[in-house]
């Protein structure tokens, strides 16, 4: 089922939780709604579910305008952050509940529930109460309950935030697998950028009720549209700093990051002046002919070595391979890899990448 969101707005008094949002989702896509808390991503999800009434705008499922359709008639499956399982019912009763309410015969409901339970790998747990299940299992019951009525759209509100780190990685793969097996158009809300990037076909990054960028994860990571998206994606965070563009090139405290030729080669004429810039930690690489800095501290994270250093008073982080032998106080020679320096203009939108 295709989804189209047109000029969708939700206002609470003067505060706009979602502001003139436009988004279209293709059939069978898995979309991540990503943003910091309070950015309007859950409000968007609840408007899609029909639980929150939009102030203005329209929502289309396929060709049908569902903006005023009540949630039970929208053919959606909804999974809540806290799962919202009915605690006094067994797993089986929880899963058959939406079917029984839709007047499906009991025998058929049980059969379909068993199919669903098999899909989410809950076989053998059908007679338990939710309290006797682990967090991950409860999560899967919630997904089974959402999918059992064969909805056209699956909506998940922070589906992984209540799970511990290891289970989170497993469960997100599980969600991807189930989504692909059922081939259902899915939107999920998350504040975890890694989670969003790892399983989504496309991500919509939101801030203050506005979609900042809507793109495939890799494209978005490499070409953030503005400084917010650049800072929100990536762990460790992108290095943000103010530097000067002069006749010589891009300068920061006497360090020449780019020559004028390199800058101009990027295809856009950048006027002289001070600009906000960003470079990702993994884009700073060791070399022979770059600028020399002194490592302030070094953190071993396993796969990588994270080096903290300063240029002038601006702090930087650089990621290198963990086999590098380096201690705090050592000098190292670095450069910013080609096509990795993003220059933002005064309003924060990306100007050029060089």
């Amino acid at each position: 089922m295709e989804i189209k969101i047109l000029n969708l707005t939700k206002a609470y008094g003067d505060f706009k939780a979602v502001d003139d949002m436009n988004l279209s989702v293709a059939d069978g896509e898995l979309i991540g709604l990503l943003g910091p808390s309070g950015c309007g991503k859950s409000t968007t999800l609840f408007m899609l579910a029909g639980l929150t009434e939009p102030t203005s705008g329209q929502i289309f499922f396929g060709d049908k305008d569902v903006t005023r359709v009540p949630p039970e008639d929208r053919e959606i499956g909804l999974v809540f952050q806290n799962y919202a399982l009915y605690p006094h019912m067994t797993v089986l009763d929880n899963i058959t509940f939406p079917l029984i309410n839709r007047k499906v015969k009991k025998a058929e409901a049980i059969e379909r529930a068993q199919e669903m339970a098999h899909l989410v790998q809950l076989d053998g747990l059908l007679n338990r109460k939710p309290s006797a299940l682990s967090g991950g299992q409860q999560q899967r019951v919630a997904i089974a309950r959402a999918l059992v009525k064969k909805p056209q759209v699956l909506l998940l509100d922070e589906p992984l935030s209540n799970l511990d780190a290891k289970l989170r990685v497993e469960t997100r793969e599980e969600i991807k697998r189930i989504q692909q097996e059922v081939k259902i158009t899915t939107l999920f809300v998350t504040h975890d950028q890694e989670e969003a990037m790892s399983i989504s076909n496309r991500i919509a990054v939101m801030n203050r009720g506005v979609v900042q960028q809507y793109d495939a994860p890799q494209a978005m990571y490499l070409n953030p549209i503005n400084s917010f998206v650049a800072q929100f994606l990536g762990m460790p965070q992108i290095n943000m700093f103010e530097a000067k563009v002069t006749g010589r090139g891009v300068e920061l405290n006497g360090v020449l990051l780019r020559t004028r030729e390199q800058l101009d080669a990027a295809g856009k004429k950048v006027a002289d002046g001070t600009y906000q810039m960003g470079v990702r930690p993994e884009s700073l690489e060791l070399c022979q002919d770059g600028f020399t800095v002194k490592a302030d501290s070094v953190r071993m994270t396993g796969r990588d070595l994270l080096i903290f250093f300063k240029i002038g008073t601006t702090e930087f982080r650089a990621l290198t391979h963990s086999d590098l032998q380096l201690r705090a106080g050592d000098d190292l020679c670095l450069r910013a890899r080609k096509n990795s320096l993003i220059i933002f203009d005064a309003d924060g939108s990306a100007l050029v990448k060089c």
Partner: protein, 278 residues
């Protein structure tokens, strides 16, 4: 659990001594009632009093039973208490749901007015209620003893609080699952709060069982009287037949104990898992 430290053992001993003392203390009046019901008329007024009856007078029970039309009283009481309890549960559950989950104009004001009525002592309402009942010509009917007690602000308030603590997500999930408000209430809200509701049921039943003044006010004929009135029968100008009062009290208390034993499981179960993690 096995404690090894001497200090822990002493702490355990102190704990249990205090608990046992507390239990005995609360049990004593009850034990006294049972023992007194088996004493003879002379022994019960004897100074100093005896603890164990010299002779067990089981005949007290038969005598007490015949003193008043207890079977009729019993039927009346059971009928009134049952109908009142069922009725008050229904009204409290429905209004608690409205106050905790539904949005309607004036909700806060109505709830505040509800709460305000808790500040009025019941005795003050006695006269007005009596006048109302008289004007309705309900005197000496079951209606008079049941209808005024069909709504209870305190139970409504109690259940509203319990219902409010049920996570909103469950309500929304049920909505998506095509579950109407009424169905949500009786399929999810009520089973989830069965402990609180059982508590209300027991309180209401006991309250109705023990009521004395109101049934006495609104009834005239012996046929409409309730069990608690039977106890007054043993008072006369010649004095009170305490041994019979005690025997009748023992009979009276048995159904309440049975009700309690029957529902104890729910009371002791404690708050169950709320269905939501985190």
């Amino acid at each position: 659990m096995k404690s090894t430290k001497p200090s822990a053992i002493i702490a355990d001993i102190v704990k249990y001594v205090v608990l046992i003392a507390g239990a005995l203390f609360t049990l004593l009046p009850f034990v006294w009632m049972v023992l007194s019901s088996l004493k003879s008329a002379n022994e019960i007024v004897q100074i100093p009093p005896t603890m164990i009856p010299r002779k067990f007078m089981f005949s007290n029970y038969a005598e007490a039973w015949q003193e008043a039309p207890f079977p009729r009283y019993f039927l009346n009481t059971v009928f009134i208490a049952t109908v009142t309890t069922v009725g008050v549960l229904l009204t409290s559950i429905l209004s608690a749901f409205a106050f905790s989950r539904l949005d309607f104009p004036g909700k806060k004001i109505i709830f505040s007015l509800f709460m305000a009525t808790l500040m009025i002592p019941g005795e003050m309402l006695l006269i007005t209620n009596f006048i109302t009942i008289t004007k309705l010509k309900w005197i000496d009917t079951y209606k008079a003893m049941i209808v005024p007690w069909l709504a209870n602000v305190f139970y409504t308030y109690l259940l509203t609080q319990f219902f409010s603590s049920v996570p909103e997500a469950l309500y929304l999930a049920a909505k998506v699952d095509k579950c109407s408000d009424l169905k949500f209430l009786f399929k999810i809200m009520v089973p989830m709060n069965k402990n609180a509701i059982t508590t209300v049921a027991i309180l209401s039943f006991i309250g109705s069982w023990n009521s004395f003044l109101w049934p006495l006010l609104v009834t005239n004929s012996t046929n409409m009287r309730v069990l608690s009135h039977g106890l007054v029968r043993f008072q006369s100008e010649a004095g009170t037949k305490y041994q019979l009062v005690m025997a009748a009290s023992c009979i009276l208390v048995v159904p309440i104990i049975i009700v309690y034993l029957f529902l104890r499981k729910y009371i002791l179960e404690g708050m169950s898992y709320t269905g939501v993690k985190g």
